[in-house]
């Protein structure tokens, strides 16, 4: 099976799941308590006005008809309009997604760069001092709520120490966004040589990224350790030792055999993180997708919520495909089988 075949098949299998999710969201929104018609109409609206709004929003139709229309529009790339902002949902998403990704990917990179070596080292001397400390720290990271640690960090590093800038978003009030290339303020300002903008962007990024990387690192440490332990206890590591290979070589064998499962794990973690980062976005006024999505849910902005959920699901799918491709690359045992 060729690569293209494989990709096509994977993407095709995903469609039912996406449809299922879309349907579920659709249903939940419409059977719920929220009444967007009343909200948009305001307290002064009379019967006729409300009916008019309902018709405009398309909510007067039958449930399945609504669903059908929605899916039909989806196929053309039309995700509808946000009732809050009257902007096209697709546009809102396109504007905000890079912000979330910027935060997310930086944190994952940092978290992995720290977490993986710690997990590996832990496994080398199980139940030793380093291991116990690492496990405790990791469990701590599991237990701390993102928003709370963000608040604490803001208090300490901004209010008390003045090291961090005020949590007002991706840039401070005086700076303009750089030319839009990737959507990431940091990357774009570096690419276009706007150094002061870059410095500001970096400064604003620092605290949320560090915080989120701690959250990200916790499961990475735990699973890297577990994977490494398994590898170190495996038949082939024991056999390698029996061959009298140098400890460094044995370690290298163990390391290479640990990488693929670790990468796979990080990928699965990644899929849930896009949603998890939304809380941080809220607190740091990041203007990212998550903040917008949460708000949409709270205000009953149906189209926006649908769009948000869809993006989350698509993100998951994309990550899974990337992982599969990576595994194919790194693992001689993997084949392009359905």
């Amino acid at each position: 099976m060729t690569l293209r075949h494989f990709l096509r098949r994977r993407l095709l299998m995903v469609v039912p799941i996406l449809l299922g999710i879309t349907f579920l969201t659709f249903m939940l929104l419409r059977i719920g308590d929220q009444d967007p018609v009343a909200m948009l109409g305001g307290p002064m609206a009379d019967e006729a006005a409300l009916a008019e709004i309902e018709r405009e929003l398309g909510l007067d139709r039958q449930f399945f008809v609504q669903f059908g229309i929605y899916v039909g529009k989806l196929a053309t790339g039309d995700l509808g309009e946000s009732w809050q902002s009257s902007e096209r949902v697709a546009d809102e998403i396109r504007n905000r997604l890079p912000a979330s990704l910027e935060l997310l990917l930086s944190a994952v990179l940092l978290g992995a760069l720290v977490g993986v070596p710690v997990g590996l080292r832990s496994a080398q001397r199980p139940n030793g001092v380093f291991d116990q400390v690492a496990r405790f720290v990791s469990l701590f990271g599991f237990s701390v709520p993102t928003y709370w640690i963000a608040l604490m960090a803001i208090f300490v590093f901004f209010f008390l120490l003045g090291w961090a800038p005020p949590p007002l978003g991706r840039l401070d009030l005086a700076t303009f966004p750089p030319t839009d290339i990737t959507g990431s303020y940091l990357v774009d300002s570096i690419l276009t040589g706007q150094w002061s903008t870059a410095r500001t962007a970096a400064g604003q990024l620092a605290l949320p990224v560090i915080l989120f990387s701690i959250i990200v690192a916790a499961p990475i440490i735990k699973h890297t350790r577990a994977i490494s332990l398994e590898v170190l206890g495996s038949d082939y590591v024991r056999y390698a030792k029996s061959q009298g290979l140098r400890p460094r070589t044995v370690r290298r064998i163990a390391l290479r055999n640990s990488i693929t499962p670790v990468l796979t794990f990080i990928g699965t973690e990644l899929t849930g993180l896009l949603a998890a980062v939304s809380l941080l976005e809220l607190i740091f006024a990041w203007g990212g997708l998550g903040q917008w999505g949460l708000n949409a849910i709270l205000t009953g902005d149906f189209a926006a919520v649908q769009g948000y959920v869809l993006v989350l699901a698509l993100f998951s799918v994309a990550v899974f495909v990337v992982i599969d491709l990576l595994v194919l690359l790194l693992e001689p045992r993997a084949t392009l089988r359905p």
Partner: protein, 334 residues
């Protein structure tokens, strides 16, 4: 002085149970035997008797909570117990090598066969890659792998069980060993492949004057391929001697029971009885460890039986070993 001399080896597993009491499982209790060059020694015993544990202890591959607590292992006059990992690595993989039970899972899944053969050489000697590669091909041919150039580029998971075992043998041979330890080398292989592998081993031992130690639970293997046999039970060697001698004239009740359970004997004498549960390594009986299962057990068995000599290198650890000159297997029938 023999090539390998194991003296009074004790290996224990020390742990703690949920009541915080220390629990010691005595895996090896004073194992003593020799392996000399051009000899094939077969180590037999039931599961848990300590066969693999002996190999691991010799090779320094024990993992916590297992530890050698007493005894000595000398290879070519050099003491292995307590040797630093660095010094041990000079001997392991070169003069003293090992093949194991599960070849497919023992090869590094992420390195091709050729690379592993080259690595096995260059970790111990400073030779150029091409030379190591050629030597790899040669050794593959020696162990009977067809089309060795192509196989050098194969991944371990592409090999069959028999082929993988041959690769392990090649890896064991490539640095010119003096002694090979084969831990259940044929378990899981087809019968025909088993015979091929064992024939190969026997020929190598003969042609290169190597010593070999075959660990197995299969008496047939021992009968056909070994020169001497050591029978293990509950962590000690309870009988040892030349294969033919021990098979024809077993002195220890356990050996007697084992021998009589081979198909040939069953055909001759009917079914015997090897009764009893496996020994509890946490609480071995005092004196002879076999006495709880032994048909001949008597009061004297509360004392540790000495090693009795039955002549010609044949020894057995039983109070009654040399009593009965006729030595017919005393086993209940029916």
């Amino acid at each position: 002085m023999s090539l390998l001399e194991v003296r009074n080896l004790h290996t224990h597993f020390i742990s703690h149970d949920l009541n915080n009491n220390q629990r010691v499982a005595k895996g090896l209790n004073g194992v003593t035997f020799d392996v000399d060059k051009s000899e094939v020694v077969g180590i037999v015993g039931e599961t848990g008797a300590g066969k693999s544990l002996t190999a691991m202890s010799i090779m320094g591959l024990l993992q916590p909570p297992a530890r050698v607590v007493e005894g000595s292992v000398t290879f070519d006059g050099n003491e292995l117990i307590g040797l630093s990992a660095e010094d041990l690595n000079r001997i392991r993989g070169t003069e003293l090598t090992m093949i194991v039970q599960s070849p497919l899972t023992s090869l590094d899944p992420l390195s091709r066969v050729g690379k592993q053969l080259v690595r096995a050489q260059r970790e111990h000697r400073d030779i150029p890659k091409e030379e190591a590669w050629t030597a790899g091909i040669q050794t593959m041919t020696t162990v009977g792998i067809p089309d060795p150039e192509r196989r050098m580029r194969a991944w371990p998971h592409e090999l069959s069980g028999g082929m993988a075992q041959r690769v392990l043998i090649a890896l064991a041979l490539i640095n010119g060993p003096r002694l090979i330890i084969a831990d259940e080398p044929t378990t899981g292989l087809d019968v025909t492949v088993q015979a091929q592998i064992l024939d190969l081993l026997r020929d190598l031992v003969r042609d290169r004057e190597m010593g070999a130690m075959i660990i197995t639970h299969d008496l047939g293997v021992v009968a056909h391929y070994c020169t001497r046999i050591c029978v293990m039970f509950a962590g000690s060697i309870i009988e040892t001697g030349p294969v033919r001698e021990v098979f024809n004239n077993p002195r220890h009740p356990y050996t007697q029971a084992l021998i009589s359970s081979t198909p040939k004997r069953i055909a001759e004498q009917g079914y015997g009885q090897i009764g009893g549960p496996p020994p509890n390594l946490y609480a071995l009986p005092q004196g002879c460890h076999y006495r709880d299962r032994c048909a001949k057990a008597a009061d004297i068995c509360h004392q540790t039986p000495p090693l009795q000599n039955a002549g010609g290198g044949h020894q057995a650890r039983c109070h009654f070993a040399v009593d009965d000159a006729t030595a017919t297997p005393t086993v209940t029938h029916g």
